[in-house]
């Protein structure tokens, strides 16, 4: 059996059924990392010995018929901005290269309770901002995997692990998911604790992850949040909202064409409802950027004072311009965010979920730029839980994604519709050199 081909749900089920041994499974994933990662560079740290120790403990428990939880014995990757007890957490920053936290992030504690085994830490852009790490896109190593959850998306796409933790402030889960042809879940902000995760922006940060199926994303989110998310299909047809305007204008012609073809296909399964973006949407990027800059500057006050010369170019610029924004402008942006959220909720009232392209284009060539997060930011600012899933392959051989978004705390509805959409799309492609 090729362990790397098992998705999260399958691996968990096979372990529970006794079809695979946790030790053999974790060993298989570690071998896959050894084989593939020199080309992809998705991992900062691989904790081989500790993962195998935990796998052995899981195996003993399996033999006794005892299971920690739904993720018993399954290996995961953890973005390097999540605190991991006793394991280096550098956040992609030079001056934190030797930082070892004394505790786990709260959501990681929850995942470990569910039985997950940490394989290692995945590459993040510096402090989950815009300065890229070394990670390459498994679909074509000359292209970026996106960011900031670069290593998590690439590791999942390259079958080095079935799931990995990510975080999104603007587009750090959705964009890498779209670029790497995997599923990304950004839940409602309050769904998952941010305790023990390096902050980018307290107002905008969301904790989620990357997987290879919608069912896997739900399983991962349940582990992260410690809450069950039920999925019930309704008897009446789902109303799927479509927003064009901004998205049509910014998407490349090929992205638009793939998206429109998909909408035609989905029209056989769903009622497609045209939605009009509210007037305040026009300044959503300015609202988001003003909040982001100011909060990044605040979060980095102490580090910047000591290490400003060690910051990479983009993050340093973000911190410094954030220091220039006055309090009245920041507070006005926060007030406008509330207006924006209210207007977006009114808009989505006319439907069950909203569909939009996952990114403006496929992953850009080169590793110096992680791509434009402009299609993810509107949903992060609205705090709409959003699932990104692959929907096709562009003419350059790179994957294309879509996003499905629902009102806050409506993950149940979101997963229910997304499973239907995933089935209708039937995406099966894998990275060519896999």
């Amino acid at each position: 059996m090729n362990f790397e081909d098992l998705n999260l749900t399958q691996a968990a089920q096979y372990i529970r059924d006794g079809q695979i041994s946790p030790v053999e499974y974790i060993h298989g994933l570690l071998s896959r990392i050894e084989q593939v990662d020199p080309r992809i560079e998705a991992w900062v740290t691989v904790c081989r010995e500790q993962a195998l120790v935990e796998a052995k403990a899981c195996e003993r428990e399996c033999r006794q018929g005892s299971f920690r939880g739904p993720l018993h014995g399954v290996g995961i990757g953890v973005k390097d901005i999540f605190f991991t007890k006793g394991l280096r957490t550098s956040a992609g920053a030079k001056f934190l290269a030797d930082f070892i936290p004394g505790y786990d992030a709260h959501c990681l504690t929850s995942l470990r309770k569910a039985g997950a085994i940490v394989l290692g830490k995945t590459v993040t852009t510096e402090f989950a901002s815009f300065d890229p790490g070394p990670t390459r896109n498994p679909w074509n190593t000359a292209h970026t995997p996106g960011g900031s959850s670069s290593g998590s998306a690439a590791a999942v796409a390259a079958r080095m692990c079935p799931a990995a933790l990510g975080s999104q402030t603007v587009g750090s889960i959705g964009r890498p998911a779209a670029y790497c042809g995997v599923v990304g879940i950004m839940p409602t902000q309050s769904r998952v604790s941010r305790s023990g995760v390096f902050p980018v922006s307290w107002t905008l940060d969301h904790i989620g992850g990357l997987t290879r199926s919608v069912a896997d994303a739900r399983l991962l989110l349940e582990g992260l949040s410690g809450e069950s998310i039920s999925v019930t299909r309704r008897s009446e047809r789902v109303r799927m909202g479509v927003v064009r305007g901004f998205f049509s204008a910014k998407a490349t012609p090929e992205t638009s064409e793939i998206h429109e073809r998909l909408l035609t296909k989905l029209g056989a399964h769903f009622d497609i409802v045209e939605l009009e973006l509210p007037a305040v949407f026009e300044i959503q990027n300015s609202i988001l950027a003003t909040i982001l800059r100011t909060e990044v500057a605040s979060a980095h006050t102490e580090y910047y004072r000591k290490h400003s010369m060690l910051y990479s170019r983009k993050l340093r610029g973000l911190v410094e311009t954030g220091m220039l924004v006055d309090s009245l402008s920041y507070l006005r942006a926060r007030r406008l965010q509330k207006v924006y959220q209210r207007e977006m909720r009114k808009m989505i009232d006319a439907c069950d979920v909203v569909i939009s392209p996952g990114a403006m284009d496929t992953a850009p060539e080169g590793l110096g730029y992680t791509g434009d997060p402009g299609f993810s930011g509107p949903w992060a600012l609205a705090d709409f839980p959003t699932l990104t899933l692959p929907c096709g392959i562009a003419s350059n051989g790179m994957p294309v994604g879509i996003q499905l978004s629902a009102p806050p705390m409506n993950e149940s509805r979101l997963f229910s519709v997304a499973e239907q959409v995933e089935g209708a799309i039937g995406f099966k492609a894998t990275p060519p050199s896999n």
Binding site: E320, L324, L328
Partner: protein, 65 residues
């Protein structure tokens, strides 16, 4: 030592972008020095455009309800 520019100009909500840019640039010079402020000009332009958009969008107690 970091010193602060008086915020009086920021209180006016309808400043044109050019004045906001001037204000941000002046503050950058005080905080980071002339040379660094010069290097930040492109970032300051972007920040000024964002702040202007935030300041100019109509916001009243009524539409916040």
């Amino acid at each position: 030592m970091i010193s602060f520019v008086p915020l009086a100009l920021f209180v006016v909500s309808s400043l044109p972008m050019s004045e906001i840019k001037t204000e941000l640039t002046g503050r950058a010079k005080q905080l980071f020095g002339e040379e660094r402020a010069e290097e930040l000009l492109a970032d300051i332009d972007k920040t000024a455009a964002e702040v202007t958009a935030v300041r100019e969008f109509p916001l009243t107690i009524d539409n916040e309800l």
